[in-house]
């Protein structure tokens, strides 16, 4: 394992425009400057990112050998169930939070983060590490189950499931699921030739648009930092340790499922990252008494920046280390 090469990777990540824009967003909040995108632009850009990821993944999925995809898909679904359960259990051990708050956090870490995923793709492309095109499929698959399990864990033993069912319907028909899944289907149906005409928009612009979006994410994360004081050391430790743990599990699972170095890294990133779009809305509706000061601060205030700056290159290093041992 070449340490200087890894350092170069990490530095390359740190000085990539998207990560630097994220830092700029943090700084802006710190000096009380208003740098936020208008809400409509934020919404439109996240729709763009979801559709672009879906499309590209769909095109790649169509080109993939089905036999090659089966194992990663199965293992991803397994991880989607195991990770929130592990988070729920670990939180009991690491924090004093009640079942509701632990379930809420488990829902976030069981699901995954589009932006972290996207940043990982941009990082791997810049590092010239190839990965399987169908990883966007895994992203889509991993988004929902974790939320469902988390909500169920929080509500074990509680009576009414009516509002739970309503919440699940809202999650399944949420914009992010629909755009990702719809994009995958469109991409698979249209194939490379159809996609090529939209590539200047959905492909070439991607990194630039992500840079603008991460500026906003930096501001959002920065606004969560004051809540760190009330979050407690246990939760902070969890928000750093759990991604590394889940990331390592994900990388291992990816290698076992026969994925490439890059593909295993992406699966690690998917496992390590916590949702902050689909999960918060679902949790707010289904678990109104869970405290956003815990689940948002952990997922958006700590885990997201950690993954962006340290986690992503780390999971690649882990993949490089484990691949020869397992493969």
């Amino acid at each position: 394992m070449d340490i200087s090469a890894n350092l170069a990777l990490a530095m390359g990540n740190l000085t990539s425009p998207p990560v630097l824009a994220f830092v700029l967003g943090l700084v802006a909040v710190w000096i009380k400057a208003d740098i936020r995108l208008p809400d409509a632009a934020y919404q439109a850009i996240s729709m763009y990112l979801l559709l672009a990821i879906g499309l590209k993944g769909g095109v790649a999925l169509r080109e993939s050998d089905p036999a090659e995809v089966v194992q990663p898909v199965a293992i991803t679904l397994l991880l989607g169930i195991a990770i929130p359960i592990a988070a729920f259990a670990l939180l009991r051990w690491m924090t004093h939070l009640g079942a509701t708050d632990r379930g809420a956090i488990a829902a976030h870490y069981g699901s995954t983060s589009l932006v972290t995923f996207t940043a990982a793709l941009v990082f791997l492309e810049a590092a010239k590490v190839s990965f399987e095109g169908y990883v966007a499929t895994l992203l889509t698959l991993l988004e929902i189950p974790g939320i469902v399990i988390g909500l169920l864990l929080a509500r074990r033993g509680q009576g009414s499931t009516a509002s739970l069912r309503a919440s699940l319907h809202e999650v399944l028909t949420s914009r992010s699921v629909l755009l990702l899944a719809g994009g995958l289907l469109i991409g698979a149906a249209t194939g490379p030739s159809g996609y090529s005409r939209t590539e200047p928009f959905f492909g070439a612009l991607f990194t630039g648009v992500l840079t603008l979006f991460l500026l906003e994410m930096g501001a959002l994360a920065g606004r969560r930092l004051p809540d760190l004081r009330t979050a407690g050391a246990g939760l902070i430790a969890f928000a750093v340790a759990f991604p590394v743990l889940a990331g390592t599990v994900g990388v291992t699972a990816g290698i076992v499922a026969g994925m490439s170095l890059g593909g295993a890294t992406v699966l690690g990133v998917l496992c390590a990252s916590a949702s902050y779009i689909a999960a918060p809305a679902a949790v707010r509706l289904a678990l109104p008494d869970a405290n956003p000061g815990y689940y948002l601060t952990a997922s958006l205030g700590i885990t997201f920046p950690f993954n962006l700056v340290i986690g992503i290159p780390l999971y690649l290093v882990i993949a490089e280390t484990l691949a020869p041992l397992i493969g």
């Binding site: 919404q43 959002l220 918060p280 809305a281 707010r284 509706l285 109104p288 956003p292």
Partner: protein
């Protein structure tokens, strides 16, 4: 102004509710089931004494206005107190209002 009734048997009040935008569809369902025949929504942002919520990520508050009879207003207030006040960021108030074509709202 012939077509406006003074506060009488068909009196209408204006109920305004400010709350987290993730509740939009749930709350409008509740309004309908309480007997409101319509409402007007604007997007808003705000600060309040509670100030604990997640929807900031998705862009803030909504401000719902509904012209209803005092009875319906009271029913909606009860639902708010029961199902929303403890867990969500909500501010709600009523104002007296004189409305054109009151039969549309009661």
């Amino acid at each position: 102004m012939d077509n406006m009734t003074e506060t009488g048997s068909q009196a209408v009040v204006l109920l305004t509710i400010v709350t987290e935008n993730v509740l939009e569809s749930r709350l409008t369902r509740d309004l309908t089931s309480c007997g409101a025949h319509g409402w007007t929504i604007t997007d808003a942002r705000g600060r309040g004494p509670r100030n604990r919520r997640a929807s900031e990520l998705e862009g803030g508050n909504i401000r719902i206005e509904t012209l209803v009879s005092p009875t319906v207003a009271s029913a909606i207030m009860d639902v708010l107190a029961q199902a929303y006040f403890t867990s969500y960021a909500v501010t709600a108030w009523t104002t007296p209002a004189t409305v054109a074509r009151p039969e549309r709202y009661t």
